[in-house]
């Protein structure tokens, strides 16, 4: 009986294995000039299935805050300035270039890649955008000038 329980335990442990698949996003380059800001992002799909999601580009103002807990992220005081659906094939690394014109009040630029393609239609309150942690990736940079 001990052996049987141990084998069951091993089977449970193996079935509970964390997925080795993941998606990542990073800032590849950032330029700031008279014409505005230019950011290059790289979204990498380290899995065997296609990844499709919505990429939101947001500007954060002086009172903008990001809050995170174990289940979700919430972004308050941000303005969505661009959004697009981005598909990344298995094992592909896709580069996305974002150009933004100067905006006097903006303090930071935040890119949020939500792995739920229908995410935009689910947003109820644009003042505070809440997204599930398991389906979100985000990066940000602060504007110098």
């Amino acid at each position: 009986m001990s052996s049987f329980l141990i084998l069951l335990f091993i089977a449970y442990e193996l079935l509970e294995s964390p997925s080795r698949d993941f998606v990542s996003m990073k800032i590849v380059s950032y330029k700031e000039g008279q014409q505005g800001v230019s950011i290059t992002l790289s979204i990498s799909n380290n899995s065997s299935s296609k990844s499709e999601g919505v990429l939101l580009v947001m500007l954060g103002y002086a009172d903008s805050t990001v809050y995170e807990n174990s289940t979700s992220y919430s972004f308050a005081g941000f303005e969505i300035v661009d959004h697009s659906v981005v598909q990344v094939l298995p094992r592909e690394e896709k580069t996305v270039k974002i150009d933004l014109s100067p905006n006097a009040g903006a303090k930071r630029i935040l890119a949020l890649y939500c792995l739920n393609p229908g995410f935009l239609s689910e947003i109820n309150d644009y003042d505070t955008i809440v997204v599930r942690r398991s389906e979100a990736l985000w990066v940000q940079t602060w504007i110098k000038s």
Binding site: S2, L5, I6, F9, F22, S24, I27
Partner: protein
């Protein structure tokens, strides 16, 4: 007919042994199959020592040279890429072997009713607290293997003194493999020498025993000489044997304590064994009732007083061991001592008594009590043959089928709960997550790339720092202080995890943060065991996410990279 029956019984035994050994292997390889990567702490040994040896540079080898040079050979044979796979899969298999010496000890016990397969079952499933059961690829594994072999050869020497020569050879290899294992082996032989000397002087002036005493003394001298010879290879404050020595010479009363100990220790060991002989009918029930008090109530009480935050960890480990292992071990000890010759009983009782005395001594030392964490390993490992014997007797003493079924289920549950402690979640393992995920591996690779791009240092904990050094082939400029076990670390992550109060980040520092460090996930910023650390609070994470000028360079879901925006004050 008789020989046919014997043959069939032998076949059944062989099947049981094979099954238990396969279980042991499966358990040890489960984490490797589950995560596909070695554990963070273990990578540390390779990046900080083996890879340096590979570069031909001098490096302290605190555990003993054998472990490092065996891995250097593997690295050279299989290459850097394959090395990770070797560490992941081959080593858990190799270190399944260390369960064999106590099994052979159990087989060598000449007592009726003993089933050595129970000893093997215990060692297959019990968490020896050497990290997780599947990741004993660190030096302890090799040290414990040779420690076990030395004990086995010493046990055989009670029957034929020539076996002691093999114990000497095995002892030498223990010294070459792991500092604490050789220290425990030294304690083991010293306890035998003192107790048998007392036994010789008081009870049995026999030539054979005198010869054994002389040979044990020579073994102790060889162990000391081997250990001292490898001290020159160790870092100044990394070798625990040297630490204990330095600590000991600072205690003024030590010579008095040692002399008093040498006189009284054999008396308090040998005489109680004679007393135990009166308890032939001491029932398992009484032992079982006593154990939760000693094994659960007392440690929990002390933990609540001194380290309440560690209570879940203490309960997670002590409940299964106190209910599943200790009662059988104590029952086995009592029954073994009551039914065997004094000479045989001393072999187990003397080292166990000295191990326990050592545990109380170490825990009383203010700056060195952290060394206690390895001692239960040796106590459990050494006591396993007697626990197996206790379980054998227990199963044989049941007088009805109903009781046998019930006991079978209870034992199965105990064994299962012992297995379960081998895979603790961080909340039960003092916040330590030993596995590494593929996304964290990518985070480490990208942190290294960014650090070259921005000419920046990388601040992360010991767990991910070791991964970082591995993926960068030791080229990354990591702020983690691994050169000393006792100098305080000074990095943003460590300081903030201890104080809970974030403060401005330095320029040109990339922070590699993982969920495994965060309070929300019951994690902690892993530091060396001798240094302080704590979890990364929500306040610190909010600071990183919102303090003007701190960029979030990358997100891999399991973790993120932060860096102060270049040019910002």
């Amino acid at each position: 007919m008789g020989s046919d029956l014997d043959k069939k019984l032998r076949n059944i035994d062989t099947w049981w042994l094979t099954l238990v050994f396969v279980l042991a292997m499966l358990l040890r390889i489960t984490p490797s199959l589950k995560y596909g990567l070695p554990y963070g702490f273990d990578i540390y040994e390779f990046t900080s020592r083996v890879l340096v040896l590979n570069e031909g540079k001098p490096v302290p080898l605190p555990h003993g040279p054998l472990f490092y040079y065996v891995h250097l050979a593997l690295l050279r044979i299989f290459g850097y890429e394959m090395f990770l796979s070797i560490l992941t899969f081959v080593e858990p298999l190799v270190f399944t072997l260390f369960i064999l010496p106590p099994y052979f000890i159990s087989r060598s016990l000449k007592i009726s009713g003993n089933e050595p397969v129970y000893t093997l079952l215990y060692l297959a499933v019990i968490n020896l607290l050497v990290h997780q059961i599947g990741s004993v690829i660190i030096p302890e594994g090799l040290g414990i293997l040779f420690f076990g072999l030395s004990v086995f050869f010493a046990r055989k020497a009670l029957e034929d003194w020539r076996w002691i020569y093999l114990a000497m050879v095995s002892g030498f290899f223990t010294a070459m493999s792991h500092h604490l294992s050789v220290f425990q082996l030294f304690i083991f032989f010293t306890s035998l020498f003192l107790s048998y000397l007392y036994y010789y002087v008081k009870y049995l002036r026999e030539r054979g025993l005198l010869r054994l005493l002389v040979l044990i003394l020579i073994t102790i001298i060889i162990l000391l000489a081997s250990s001292i010879s490898i001290w020159s290879l160790s870092g100044k404050d990394e070798n625990m044997l040297m630490l204990l020595f330095n600590m000991a010479i600072k205690i003024r009363l030590l010579p008095v304590i040692l002399i008093a100990g040498a006189i009284f220790f054999p008396i308090v060991t040998v005489e109680p064994i004679r007393f135990l002989k009166k308890f032939k009918k001491f029932t398992f029930k009484k032992t079982f009732i006593l154990m939760p008090i000693i094994g659960i109530v007392l440690p929990s009480f002390l933990t609540i007083i001194f380290h309440p935050e560690a209570l879940s960890t203490i309960l997670w480990f002590t409940i299964p061991i106190s209910l599943g292992f200790l009662p059988f071990a104590i029952y086995g000890i009592i029954q073994y001592c009551s039914k065997n010759k004094l000479l045989d009983s001393i072999f187990f009782m003397a080292p166990l008594t000295l191990f326990m005395t050592e545990a109380f001594f170490i825990i009383s030392l203010e700056n060195y009590n952290v060394l206690i964490h390895r001692l239960p390993t040796f106590v459990i490992y050494f006591a396993a043959p007697l626990a197996g014997y206790g379980m054998s007797l227990f199963s044989k003493e049941l007088d009805s089928m109903k009781k046998e079924y019930l006991a079978g289920m209870i034992i199965a549950y105990f064994i299962f709960s012992l297995v379960a402690t081998s895979f603790p979640k961080p909340e039960f393992a003092y916040g330590v997550r030993e596995s590494v995920s593929y996304s964290e591996l990518k985070l480490a690779e990208d942190a290294y790339t960014y650090s070259i791009l921005f000419n920046a240092k990388i601040d992360t904990d010991t767990r991910l720092g070791a991964v970082l050094m591995f993926v960068s082939n030791r080229r990354a400029d990591w702020m983690g202080n691994l050169t000393s076990w006792f100098l305080p670390s000074n990095s943003w992550l460590v300081n903030v995890s201890v104080s809970g109060e974030p403060y401005p980040l330095e320029n040109s520092v990339i922070l590699m943060v993982s969920n495994s460090m965060r309070e929300t996930y019951y994690g902690r910023v892993i530091n060396l065991i001798t240094k302080p650390s704590g979890p990364l609070s929500e306040k610190a994470v909010n600071y990183l996410n919102n303090y003007p000028g701190i960029d979030r360079l990358e997100d891999v879901q399991e973790g993120a990279l932060y860096m102060k925006h270049l040019g910002k004050s």
